[in-house]
């Protein structure tokens, strides 16, 4: 009797805690959770591959295959094509109210470019086929854009000859760098290049603060350099192996999803409590706005020094009221980004008003709730096509032209 009492006294807390954890783990495993979609309006479809092949209408098999290639992650350059890196936020990756045949702008751009110079061929002037790589990230910030560009540019063979960047006002509100992008900046060649860019950018006051801590240390917990285990050490390899083994255990394999669910739960709770909706005004703080502009300037400098052709467009914003973008923010954005591009002789296209209201959604979206709340960032397939066609009309003929001119001069 006494030993049973002792067993209960000692075992109750750990055993019950473990049972609860296992129960929740089981629930997590059975509950379908897609982190990319969960935070969004349920009518948005992120393109991951396979969608255009099954839904497409009016495209030949070769064009469809090319469109699919755009969505392939970490595709290495074979050096035979001109590489176009397409970078933007989720607007360039997702379709609202997707219908059969809908594709995202980078896919349409690839198809249209291939109609000029087909895959594996050259045109009469010797210009190579342009291969579009999607480097977009949801909520991409200016530092992330810069790192993506430098990482692609410093790869061998390099993965960017042309950069098409969708610059988004909304994303000027943040300067964060997610882990997967931070890891790119840890590559020695990328780090060296970023450091030299920083060293040459003395007149840009905010870039040092935004990027120095990234280059100084792997940690964002402190401004000081931290004692860290030497990279590639035996203990790191052991830890990596253990983590990979643990990822095969159901509860641990759901770690990322669990973290995102906590974050989503927090955001849902916060929005309900504070009455935040997608129409709530989101002013862009002056400091992050200035820093974002300066980091884009750094990206332009890098592109110039690495002979990368750049096309920037101001990403479309939804033309209805109430609107989360402040008119004053839109006005300065419309003024400052083109002025910056002009200084570096970079083509800047103002597409802020390009997409008419009719092309943002096919259904009424006044209802409140995650599935119906009005979306200000993503538009329909028709708008994606419109944007790609506009890009082609505005710069399609010039894309890859730098390389052509170079070749002529080399000859």
């Amino acid at each position: 009797m006494r030993s049973l009492k002792t067993l209960i006294r000692h075992g109750y807390v750990p055993l019950t805690s473990l049972c609860l954890v296992l129960l929740i783990a089981h629930w997590l495993r059975t509950a379908a959770f897609d982190p990319l979609v969960a935070a969004q309006n349920e009518r948005i479809r992120f393109q991951r591959g396979g969608e255009s092949a099954t839904n497409a209408a009016g495209l030949g098999p070769a064009e469809l295959a090319l469109a699919e290639r755009v969505l392939e992650k970490h595709r290495a350059s074979d050096g035979k094509h001109t590489e176009l890196l397409y970078v933007g936020n989720s607007q360039t990756m997702a379709i609202m109210d997707q219908k059969p045949g809908d594709m995202i702008t980078p896919q349409w751009l690839q198809v249209l470019l291939a109609r000029q110079v087909p895959f594996g061929q050259r045109d009469k002037n010797g210009a190579k086929h342009i291969d579009v790589n999607l480097g977009s990230l949801p909520n991409i910030t200016a530092p992330e854009l810069l790192i993506q560009l430098v990482a692609a540019g410093e790869k061998s063979p390099r993965q960017v000859d042309i950069l098409v960047a969708a610059v988004v006002l909304e994303e000027f509100r943040g300067l964060g760098i997610r882990d997967e992008v931070e890891k790119l900046a840890d590559l020695p060649t990328v780090k060296t290049r970023l450091r030299s860019l920083l060293d040459q950018g003395h007149e840009l006051p905010t870039i040092h603060s935004s990027l120095q801590s990234l280059l100084n240390s792997n940690s964002s917990t402190s401004n000081q350099s931290t004692g860290d285990v030497p990279t590639g050490s035996h203990s790191q390899r052991v830890e990596k192996h253990l983590q990979e083994s643990l990822d095969r255990v159901p509860l641990f394999s759901e770690r990322d999803n669990l973290r995102m669910q906590v974050a989503l739960g927090y955001h849902g709770w916060r929005n309900r409590l504070l009455g935040i909706t997608t129409t709530s005004v989101r002013p862009v703080p002056e400091s992050s706005y200035r820093a974002s502009l300066e980091i884009i300037e750094l990206a332009l400098r890098y592109a110039q020094s690495a002979n990368i052709q750049v096309v920037i467009y101001l990403a479309p914003i939804r033309p209805i009221q109430p609107n989360p973008n402040l008119p004053s923010d839109v006005a300065r954005f419309r003024r400052d980004v083109p002025a910056l591009c002009q200084r570096y002789e970079v083509k800047c296209l103002d597409y802020l008003d390009l997409v008419p209201e009719a092309l943002w959604t096919n259904y009424p979206d006044e209802a409140v709730g995650s599935e119906g709340e009005r979306d200000f960032a993503h538009f329909t397939g028709a708008a994606h096509k419109l944007l790609a066609e506009k890009l082609m009309a505005d710069v399609g003929q010039q894309l890859g032209i730098v390389e052509q001119e170079e070749k002529v001069s080399r000859r």
């Binding site: 109750y12 750990p14 954890v21 760098i177 792997n218 401004n223 004692g227």
Partner: protein
Amino acid sequence: MTVTSLSYLLFVLIIWLLARPLKSAKARQILFLVASYVFYGSWGGIFLAILLASSILNYGLGILIRYRPTLGRLWFGIGLNLLLLVLFKYLPSAIFVSVPNPTSFSFLHEIVMPVGISFWTFQALSYLFDLYREEDLDPTLIEFCLYMAFWPTVLAGPVCRLPEMLPQFRQVPPVRWDDISEGTRRILIGLFMKMVLAEVLANGFSPGEGVAAGFDQTSGGWGGLDVWLLSTGYGLQLFFDFAGYSHIVIGTALLFGVSLQENFDRPYFSQTPSEFWTRWHLSLSFWIRDYVFMPLATVQREIWWRYTSLVLAMMLFGLWHGATALFLLWGAYHGLLLVAHRKLQQLQRRWKIRLPESVFSVLSWGVTFGLVSLGWVFFRTHDVAQALTMLGSVLSPRGYGQLALRPNFYILTSLIILGYFVYHLIEMGLVHLKKNPWPERIFWLVSPVQYAVVLLLTIAWSKQEAVFVYFQF
């Protein structure tokens, strides 16, 4: 191998299983020493060589001082240890700060500071001081090397003292359920504090939303409220980081029947700056008190010298973290706070100011919490100019209407600060209710929910790379 890694947990489990059948204290010491060297060696063979050299050197110095405890021998020992610190910790950074074009000192780039050097060097110094004071300490070489390298404490303390560790090394404690249970609980709580709370405070739920981004935004633009929340948030982040680490190492040692000194005791509930330093980083705070302030203060009897000693001791406390102007300012700031507190106490006695006790407590706590939090600006900013700009924002009433950071920063930081106080108030309330067993029983019954949540959140955040702030000191 860091204490939040899976390899560490596996390592502890293996050592525990190996130590369990050992009946001789000597065998346990050898096992612990080998384990400690394997653990420390995982950070780099050269670090281990330096630690080993320092251990042997200090053991030799100890024999010299024990044989004849003269001031000259003590100073010789202090000098050698400080030389080690200067060479590996202070010189490389000092050269790069003070020399505009340090190309001729490029070899200093090659010098890497052994992790935890400040902690184990201070342990060695306390051993020499204790011997000079003719304390009865006669460790064997193995015992002394173990004291210097004991794996739970070697990376970032707590700064141990040999008189407390030696008796524990010389016994083979029985395996007690309470030790295992309390040790495991503390490891879990520590992991949660570091991996979840400190991480969320530092980085928020997505990049750019946390305290780190707020401080890294050196372009300025902070309003008064921003600075208050950033400094308070950073103070709490540092607390969760370091107290979390301390929980893990104290818990680990407890699994082996070794009891280490506590490092934190609800520091943000302090009602005076003096009290704060008996609750924050206790092992180092008491070290500075015993081996720096006390000897210094007794040199002269005048009150002004006592205050000067206080400021000097706190400046040394600051410099212990690194040879930067900011750490020096942080130390001086706290030294001045301590002096101001003593002066205020004198004035209060002289003018016979009396307030209701509850009002006085809340007022004292509020002022102490605010001033200590504001002090973290010196600790965390990138340079003196940034620190002054931020502190200037606090003094500028116009800036209070200006919010320069992401909305989530304000909400998350405020929630965690509030959560910290609410949790501890409930905990303190339960202690007061101890006469009645029912609240405790109910708390025990529902505690699995608390632990399940803590465990789940720790697992959720366990994939993130965790780097402790204090590993750099």
